[in-house]
């Protein structure tokens, strides 16, 4: 039995804690149960395997740290968005790997909650939280990256079922997923945004082929997925064909503001790790006392504070019942660019370490070199920087297109 399997589920009594007590309970559980091998800021770090990640995330769910705001009827914990924020602050404070099922928990789940049938909610949602079903996202295509209105994958009626044909790309984690949230077209290409429908497609279905793509960090996490006359049951269609996408857009708007809410606090964990590693090295310890690096690191602190401010005010607005609109773009844009600046600073500092390299520097270099490369993707995925700027110009500033 692994440490994770032995990890105690959240005690019944802590389920009703709120505010500071809730925070302390979550913090204690995470610190007591997160395996050292998962923590990229300690010497015992070793990238977890898929089964280890799945076991850990299932344990987190049992401890009340996933599905936090989902209704209890579908396996959720029925908590408030503010408690979701508190839990994410505690998750972010520790150096732990990204979820292998963030698409399930932060995209497919909320969409199913919004547009799914009762049967679908009961069938899909607990399976996501218990990590029985890992999901991936089949939106982007070779001819439809940022511009989803141009997507070509088709879904055609065949009696009581649908048949899906086409190709998806940049589908992160498809090789490990059980389900893919597929966006497909029910009408002609000229319909653009109309006639887009969503399906929960099984990846072991006949006609599905997954081909990993090697990414710049050497990993084979994102994939191409080919659909060759794949049969999908009506019960796996999400929302009505012509309504599904509009409903999804509304969900995505909120998701952009709330997903991976731990990011600001993880960012801070990274900054603290970097400084701690520098202070362990004789040369770097001296460097970080110089005004140049005090200023550079001070700028990162300000970036993180502004990011936290974006996130917290968005949570306040949502909790007060305000419309979030396109505000999620602000946090995403600021985070992705600030994180890239930080990653470059981390590389610059660690490159100046003394010889022979101490283990703390080696560990930090491993972590920050990976972060530097992965951060290149952060201004591309979930809507590129240019798309976010366009959203802010169109929807927040409502700038005239100037005909």
């Amino acid at each position: 039995m692994t440490a994770i399997e032995r990890a105690a589920p959240e005690a019944a009594t802590t389920g009703e804690l709120s505010g500071e007590a809730y925070r302390v309970a979550k913090r204690r559980w995470l610190r007591a149960n997160l395996p050292a091998s998962f923590r990229s800021d300690v010497a015992a770090f070793a990238s977890p395997t898929l089964p280890q990640s799945i076991a850990w995330e299932a344990a987190m769910y049992r401890a009340g740290l996933a599905g936090i705001t989902w209704p209890k009827a579908y396996g959720g914990h029925g908590r408030t968005l503010r408690e979701h924020l508190i839990a994410n602050q505690e998750i972010g404070a520790l150096a732990m790997p990204e979820s292998v099922n963030s698409i399930g928990k932060e995209l497919a789940g909320p969409i199913i909650l919004a547009v799914g049938t009762e049967e679908q909610k009961h069938r899909f949602l607990p399976a996501i939280l218990e990590m029985r079903d890992v999901w991936c996202q089949g939106f982007s295509e070779p001819e439809a990256g940022s511009d989803l209105a141009g997507l070509r994958t088709s879904a055609t009626r065949d009696g009581d079922t649908w048949r899906i044909n086409g190709q998806k790309i940049w589908t992160s984690g498809a090789y490990r997923a059980q389900r893919c949230l597929v966006l497909a077209r029910t009408g002609p290409l000229e319909d653009r945004h109309r006639g887009l429908a969503m399906f929960a497609v099984r990846l072991d279905a006949k006609g599905v082929r997954v081909r990993p793509i090697k990414s710049i960090d050497g990993r084979e996490s994102f994939c191409e997925v080919f659909f060759d006359d794949v049969e999908v049951l009506e019960s796996d269609a999400l929302g009505a064909p012509d309504e599904g996408w509009n409903a999804a857009i509304r969900v995505l708007e909120i998701e952009r503001a709330t997903n991976r809410m731990y990011r600001s606090w993880r960012f801070e964990n990274e900054l603290r790790h970097l400084i701690s590693a520098c202070k362990s090295d004789p040369v770097l310890a001296q460097l970080v006392t110089e005004r140049h690096y005090e200023v550079k690191l001070g700028e990162v602190v300000v970036d993180i504070e502004v990011l936290k401010a974006h996130v917290e005010t968005a949570v306040d607005a949502l909790a007060n019942g305000d419309k979030i609109g396109a505000r999620g773009s602000l946090a995403k844009l600021h985070w992705s660019e600030a994180h890239q600046r930080f990653a470059a600073l981390a590389l610059e500092l660690l490159a100046q370490a003394s010889l022979p390299q101490i283990s703390a520097v080696q560990l930090a270099r491993r972590r920050f070199e990976a972060i530097y490369l992965q951060a290149r993707a952060e201004t591309i995925y979930a809507g590129t920087t240019e798309i976010q700027l366009g959203i802010i110009a169109d929807r927040i500033l409502q700038l005239s297109k100037g005909k």
């Binding site: 010497a43 603290r272 400084i275 701690s276 590693a277 202070k279 362990s280 090295d281 310890a285 970080v288 006392t289 005004r291 690096y293 005090e294 200023v295 550079k296 690191l297 001070g298 700028e299 602190v301 300000v302 504070e305 502004v306 936290k308 401010a309 974006h310 917290e312 005010t313 306040d316 505000r327 602000l330 844009l333 600021h334 022979p356 390299q357 101490i358 283990s359 703390a360 080696q362 240019e386 976010q388 700027l389 366009g390 802010i392 110009a393 169109d394 927040i396 500033l397 700038l399 005239s400 297109k401 100037g402 005909k403």
Partner: protein
């Protein structure tokens, strides 16, 4: 958001403040003081004993932002802070500030030496960045040992220099004190000065927020109405994206201020709000000028007045030193890795 017993919201002060600021355009400084006082705007954070409203700092934010947006030529931040800073030890002086009876200001830069002579203190030295000091009745100066002293401007040995610096709206003066004698009771403790400076950074951020909002709104208006190549400027993606970045910065300032006046906020949050405001506020006002093109470089388009003000506020709060100190505090608080052995 902090709520008071009467259920007031800080945002409710924005409308009153904007109207009062607009009214002030035609008034001289002393009339402005009385006008702002009549609207209750000078005593927002001062105690009720000295005629104030006794509200948290969050309520001063929309007032100072409205002043920034409307280019109010009055040392409003100083009046707000002095009304509260003086309320314990010099309640009469505090009341006079809150009611608009006297015009008081603060020298943010430099400090003076202080020597005790019986019940009096003799001050010597140079201070600077004192808004509207040429017309003020009293000036709060920092003493080298950390305290602060309230100096009547008609004291012998007080010399106000010509205004220097970029800001045209609220001119900043240097002041020379040569053997200026004041009562020992006019000295405020070091803690009062520190609180003043910390709150001032939040209010500077608020003033910059007001200026930045005004600049973005001007730039947006210009981009939507000015036509080139047969279309409005805002048709061009380069312009749309530039304005979107300005909006990102503007909301960054706004949210950082909100966070800096929350119950849990500490020095880091206050400094961050000020520093973010300086960086984004400069970018927004400079960016607005760029979008105006040649017109932006003219005296009549008000963008340069905001740009001047933002840069002056950034310097007044010593942004560069504040940033380095923030970084230093953050670095100092973090321990080295426990097992930092050299690996074989």
């Amino acid at each position: 958001m902090t709520l008071t017993g009467e259920g007031l919201q800080p945002s409710e002060f924005a409308v009153t403040a904007s109207r009062a600021v607009a009214d002030c355009a035609a008034l001289d400084l002393r009339e402005q003081a009385r006008h702002l006082a009549n609207d209750g705007l000078l005593g927002v954070i001062a105690s009720q004993e000295v005629g104030g409203l006794d509200l948290p700092l969050a309520f001063a934010v929309p007032v100072v932002a409205a002043a920034g947006s409307g280019l109010l030529g009055f040392p409003l931040m100083e009046a707000l802070l002095l009304g509260r800073a003086l309320q314990e030890s010099l309640p009469r002086a505090a009341e006079a500030v809150v009611t608009g009876e006297t015009l008081a200001t603060i020298a943010w830069q430099g400090s003076v030496s202080a020597e005790r002579e019986g019940d009096s203190i003799v001050l010597n030295g140079w201070v600077a960045r004192a808004a509207c000091a040429a017309e003020a009745d009293s000036l709060l100066v920092r003493i080298g040992t950390g305290e602060a002293a309230l100096v009547p401007m008609d004291s012998d040995g007080t010399v106000v220099e010509e205004a220097t610096g970029l800001d045209l709206t609220v001119p900043e003066h240097s002041v020379r004190l040569q053997g200026v004698t004041i009562p020992a009771a006019s000295v405020l403790p070091e803690s009062a000065w520190k609180l003043l400076c910390s709150d001032a950074n939040v209010l500077r951020a608020a003033a910059i927020l007001g200026s930045a909002e005004a600049c973005l709104s001007l730039a947006q208006e210009h981009a939507s109405t000015r036509r080139q190549f047969g279309r409005a400027l805002s048709y061009n993606q380069a312009i749309r994206h530039a304005l979107a970045r300005q909006k990102l910065g503007l909301e960054g300032i706004r949210h950082a201020i909100t966070r800096s006046v929350s119950d849990e906020a500490a020095a880091t949050q206050r400094d961050a709000a000020f520093l973010a405001a300086g960086v984004y506020g400069s970018a927004i006002s400079e960016g607005a000028l760029q979008i105006y093109g040649g017109m932006g470089f003219t005296w009549d388009v008000p963008v340069h007045r905001h740009l001047r003000r933002v840069r002056a506020l950034q310097a007044q709060g010593e942004a560069s030193a504040t940033l380095a100190a923030l970084g230093r505090r953050y670095i100092d608080a973090i321990a080295p890795v426990a097992d930092a052995a050299v690996s074989g």
